[in-house]
Amino acid sequence: MTARWRAAALVLPLLIYTVVTFLVPLTTMLVRSFYDPVVAEVLPGVLAALDDWNGSGDPPEPAWEAAATDLRAAAEAGTVGRVASRVGRVDPDLRTVLPGTAFALAEGGLRPARGQTWHDVMVSVDSAWASPDTWRGIKEGGRRFTSRHYLNAVDLTRGPDGSVAARPEDRRIYLPLFWRTLQVSLAVTLLCLVLGYPVAHLIAHASPRKRGILLALVLVPFWTSLLARTTSWIVLLQNQGVINDLLVATGLVADDGRLALVYNMAGTLIAMAHVLLPFMVLSLYSVMNSISPQYMRAAASLGARPWHAFRKVYWPQSLPGVGAGCLMVFILAIGYYITPALVGGSSGQLISNMVAYHMQQSLNWGLAAALGVLMLGGVMLLYVLYDRLTGGRVGIR
């Protein structure tokens, strides 16, 4: 029994590390994509009073007083900005209406005069309160549990009556980005496979000494900082860069017709393929290394031409490596962020750049989380599919 506890104690550090650095942030992120209590905590009275309101016509009288009380308190506590930014995502007008009203109430110490109701006070501060839209915005934005971020992440909107509809074509942002990410990832995977397969084959069947050198050539870039590699691509690919200079010098391209190789999709493809190539080569190598050269000899002795032998004997045996390499590169490519951010320009941005944008710039963490969850789900689905197709024989040996 003590032995088992001791063994458990050995894995404890890793367990704690994993929980703290991985599970907790991941779960928080997941939760944030559908759960946001901020508005409900700052404006509890209003939301309670709007509970039974069906969204048409004036809200019930208690809501007006509660709104005034809650907003004044929010202005004093300094929380009104956070509420405004959240509710503002539902109805942009509210971004100014809420703070404006809150500060007017707090500073002016406004109360209903004789014969007046809170209704009159609020409308006098901002006529927007007379519109049911304003109240609907608060009610919608105040939900603790919401599908808003997910709808948003796939370019759907919920109309005032609660019905879900697609955004107009020209206002869709995320679906085209998902599509582009998928295309780029596929292209990068294919590029890596085509470039990496012969290299892996060469390494796997070279003499031990040559193999060491070749492996080092693959690993050195692998160990080099990602940032360094990506920025050197900028140097190589830019308009006045090495490659363009070379093309011009050799006369292949006119000086005024230099190729745009960076800050666009081409840059993203080239740099990402380069960064991810070692993963493909190493996956392929690990499988090819275990394919005895005897098989190709046997095929030749049985009368097969080299190409026939490759297609029928070598390729099928290398498939686990192809599968593992493609899966790894594809999954890494889907989530790639730094490289497209640096060399992608605007046309080379991928979905993860959007996640970063919402995390760092717009501070819409809920939407960022929803996008992340969708990506995670997609990748997991892909993995399950791959696992089914290969009968669990993932080629990483």
Binding site: S292, Q294, Y295, R297, A298, A299, A300, S301, L302, G303, A304, R305, H308, K312, V313, P316, Q317
Partner: protein, 375 residues
């Protein structure tokens, strides 16, 4: 699998396979095969026998075309094959660990060489069925190699090497991975298939018993050279080298000094005893030779005057072998003199420590060129 047509162009006397002064070095310095001359007749079962590292596999690879000779010419049916890639040599090959394609079923494995030769689908099916029949594997066509026992994999490998009807078949220690009883069964089976099809076989093994059972002729290899090439009986009865005498069967060896030489015979002295022997080595008086005698030719307590070589011996050890007794004795200055005698009632009355008389015929005692003891 039909009997093979004789090759009319090359004529009946041309050897099927012919190595002419073939040498091979992998690193450009050490020769793994030394100026090898070897002929294999059509329909012959030739075995390359030798310890590990003696160059057997290398010779097969040279013949199959996977390695290029550093010097010399290899002919198949009279024609040099240097410039033919392996796939054009039409040689059936069974590899050391079978090299069955793991991702293909047995049928697909057998179809592979036919497909590569663009044999029509129907003929393909027929030939595969016949090959499966030949090695008695019918019913396993749908299995993959991993689902077969070692013996079955072996049969598939043989069937695959034969299915395209090659005239020349090479096998590299094909039975090495099998257990003993299966190995013996397969030895007879491979031999009988080879006879039935009339193919020429070059077979590699390090097991002398296997070589004796299967071969028409055996080439004993050491360090990339042929020590002796002869039929199983010839190798056993008339070894020309100590290495061969030791490698094939059990052997008594005695180092001795030559005291007189006749035309085919010589007289030597060892441990104070004078012994007459067949002169195999090219020796003169004063030279050291190694005597070689088979244990079953050494008689214990023979009738007086039956053998011209006789001496006293002390029994060191008696081992019961079933039909025979293996008696180890000290004689002629060696304590490793072994006699194998028929197992008679009461162990022939032999007890450890007894002094006995032993004798052997001149014809059963061969004086070979002396070799360092370790090899």
């Amino acid at each position: 699998m039909t009997a093979l047509k004789p090759d009319l162009k090359s004529g009946p006397t041309t050897p099927h396979v012919c190595f002419e002064a073939v040498s091979k070095s992998y690193d450009g310095k050490t020769l793994v095969v030394h100026s090898l001359d070897l002929e294999v007749a059509r329909g012959e079962f030739l075995t390359l026998l030798g310890p590990s590292g003696s160059g057997k596999t290398t010779i097969l690879m040279l013949l199959a075309g996977f390695e290029v000779p550093s010097a010399g010419v290899i002919r198949v049916a009279g024609k040099p094959v240097q410039d033919l890639p392996p796939r054009k040599r039409g040689i059936g090959m069974v590899f050391q660990n079978y090299a069955l394609f793991p991702h293909m079923t047995v049928r697909e494995n057998l179809e592979f060489p036919l497909e590569a030769r663009s044999v029509a689908a129907q003929a393909r099916e027929e030939r595969v069925a016949r090959a499966m029949d030949l090695v008695r594997l019918s019913g396993l066509a749908g299995r993959r190699p991993a689902q077969l026992s070692g013996g079955q994999q072996q049969r598939v490998a043989i069937a695959r090497a034969l299915v395209f009807e090659p005239e020349l078949v090479l096998m590299d220690e094909p039975l090495g991975a099998l257990d003993r009883s299966l190995r013996e069964e397969m030895q007879y089976e491979i031999r009988s298939i080879q006879r039935r099809l009339g193919v020429t076989m070059v077979y590699v093994t390090h097991d002398q018993r296997e070589a004796m059972v299967m071969s028409d002729r055996i080439a004993v290899l050491r360090g990339g050279r042929i020590e002796q090439i002869a039929g199983p009986e010839g190798l056993y009865e008339e070894p020309e080298r100590v290495f061969v005498a030791n490698f094939i069967g059990e052997n008594n060896r005695l180092d001795a000094e030559v005291t007189s030489v006749e035309k085919h015979l010589c007289e030597v002295v060892t441990g104070g005893e004078t012994i007459r022997a067949i002169k195999v080595a090219d020796c003169e008086v004063g030279d050291t030779v190694t005597l070689s005698m088979r244990p079953e030719r050494v008689a214990v307590n023979p009738r007086d005057g039956l053998y011209s070589n006789e001496t006293d011996a002390i029994v060191e050890d008696v081992v019961f072998l079933g039909g025979q007794l293996r008696v180890r004795m000290t004689a002629c200055g060696s304590d490793q003199i072994v006699a194998k005698i028929p197992n008679m009632l009461g162990h022939g009355g032999l007890l450890v420590g007894d002094t006995v008389r032993i004798g052997w015929a001149v014809a059963d005692c061969r004086a070979l060129a002396a070799e360092p003891a370790h090899s």
